[in-house]
């Protein structure tokens, strides 16, 4: 509980007005490039292949002739939009981005760079963490939209290349019973997960004590704890938004 209280206090310091907007915007664009654009390749790779696997596994389990052929497309679309793209991609980003942030801020802590900021009179938490949170909250939804598109495309490629379905049938399944609200639900989840990933990783990096060994440990802890928080938040948001 002590850690949670410290985490909440940290957020109150982070979520204040930046000292200079011009510097904040410059850092925001740097962070969008660092934690957002640089994550596109891994998100694209994961999404395309997992979309393909979802489609193939669904098709292989559709032996019942009473089930319409477009069911494969429908299930691929639903599982991608509802769960795979927002949650699984966020868990992957917790590993990639979370460990990166924790080790970056942790290294700044142990090499006294954060002390240097504080001595200058800079609100180091606001300066370092707010642009990262803003970048995650703004760009992670874009990553998830890219993931949705590529996952569904991967499913189509897998089915068509394996001769398990036709393009028309697959597209019919994708469009069947499509609910735009599910996109809102997925993007809302992504924004919450993005906030969790960056804030938890920053917490573990910022308050690290010791040397390089502790920075490594804090990086691992950041990934584990943010993943747990993502799973809990996923459950709560699903309860609140879908039921």
């Amino acid at each position: 509980m002590g850690n949670f209280g410290k985490y909440i206090l940290m957020l109150t310091v982070i979520l204040t007005r930046p000292k200079k907007w011009s510097i904040f915007l410059k850092r925001l664009f740097d962070e969008i490039s660092g934690i957002g654009i640089n994550s596109i390749p891994i998100v694209a790779l994961m999404s395309t292949f997992i979309g393909g696997v979802i489609a193939l596994q669904t098709a292989s389990n559709m032996s019942n002739p009473l089930l319409p052929k477009y069911t494969v497309g429908y299930i691929t679309q639903s599982s991608t939009i509802l769960e795979f793209s927002p949650t699984i991609i966020s868990l992957i980003l917790a590993g990639k981005v979370g460990s990166n942030i924790a080790s970056e801020i942790g290294t700044m802590r142990v090499t006294e760079q954060i002390d240097a900021l504080e001595i200058m009179g800079v609100n180091s938490l606001n300066f370092l963490v707010l642009p990262k949170i803003a970048a995650a909250v703004l760009f992670f939804p874009i990553l998830v939209i890219i993931s949705m598109f590529l996952s569904i495309t991967g499913g189509w490629l897998a089915l068509v290349l394996s001769d398990l379905s036709t393009t028309d049938t697959y597209v019919l399944g994708i469009r069947y019973s499509f609910m735009p609200y599910h996109i809102v639900y997925a993007l809302t989840k992504t924004i919450v997960f993005g906030f969790i990933i960056v804030s938890v990783a920053s917490y573990y990096g910022y308050y690290v004590k010791g040397g390089s060994l502790e920075v490594g440990k804090s990086s691992t802890q950041a990934v584990v704890i943010s993943s747990v928080f993502i799973l809990i938040a996923n459950f709560l948001l699903t309860q609140m938004m879908l039921l």
């Binding site: 510097i23 006294e112 760079q113 001595i119 609100n123």
Partner: protein
């Protein structure tokens, strides 16, 4: 002027500073010396607010830093420059960007004005033309000099140097000491140097405070530290065989 009054500090029940009183004068290089683990770095961190004191006052020109909120401290901190033991340069920034950083954060200077100020600071630490290097491309001595340039960029009234010579060769140490001394006199700063390097003590120490077991054990000048009878200081000053030989030769001269 900088003054600390009755400063106490403990960590999880273990008291490391006991009722420290000290005055650090403007335009002088004030040294805090002592063996490792005696509390001198903790005292310095209490003075700049990196550690909160348990009790006592830290007065910057009469303003009690310990009673200030975050915004008030931010104002005072713009009058403080600090050189860290490991220089603490920002890895992702060039030498120029490091020195320019406080200017971009706290002034409304134009880019040209900031560039001029950066060049002025780099010239003072003999680093003209090294603007575009990254910290990883600089030697330890260069990193310290960049750290000094960054510390003086905002024309601070107070300069703190935490073990400025650690990890440096003797020649570079003398260079850094010389820079600290000349900048203190030229810019009329109140400079506080934390060190256990006897060369620094003899080169730049205008006034010296000796910290022992968390207490201010002794106070004086570089002349008086050589002749004091205080056993703990003698143990510290004459720890090396070289210094012991100097003491013997001094005693022989007196006879």
């Amino acid at each position: 002027m900088l003054e600390v009054r009755q400063v106490n500090k403990s960590f999880t029940g273990n008291q490391v500073l006991f009722d420290i009183d000290a005055r650090f004068e403007k335009g002088r290089v004030n040294l805090i010396i002592g063996q490792s683990g005696q509390g001198k770095s903790v005292l310095a961190k209490c003075m700049v607010g990196l550690h909160e004191v348990d009790s006592g006052e830290v007065l910057y020109d009469g303003r009690d830093f310990t009673k200030m909120n975050r915004n008030q401290r931010s104002e005072v901190r713009q009058e403080i420059g600090m050189l860290f033991q490991g220089a603490a340069l920002f890895d992702s920034m060039t030498v120029e960007e490091n020195v320019m950083f406080p200017l971009t954060m706290f002034t409304n200077m134009t880019k040209a004005e900031m560039k001029k100020r950066v060049d002025f600071c780099l010239e003072h630490v003999n680093l003209i033309g090294r603007n575009k290097l990254f910290p990883s491309e600089c030697s330890g001595g260069m990193q310290k000099r960049v750290g000094i340039a960054r510390a003086i960029a905002m024309s601070p009234k107070f300069l703190f140097c935490d073990e400025p010579n650690s990890g440096l060769d003797p020649q570079t140490s003398i260079l850094i000491d010389g820079l600290i001394k000349s900048l203190t006199y030229e810019l009329q700063m109140t400079t506080v140097v934390i060190t256990h390097d006897m060369n620094s003590v003899m080169e730049i120490g205008d006034s010296i405070i000796f910290i022992y077991k968390g207490q201010k054990w002794w106070e004086g000048t570089r002349e008086s530290i050589i002749t004091t009878d205080n056993q703990e200081i003698s143990n510290f000053v004459y720890a090396s065989d070289f210094m012991k030989e100097i003491r013997v030769s001094m005693q022989e001269k007196r006879r």
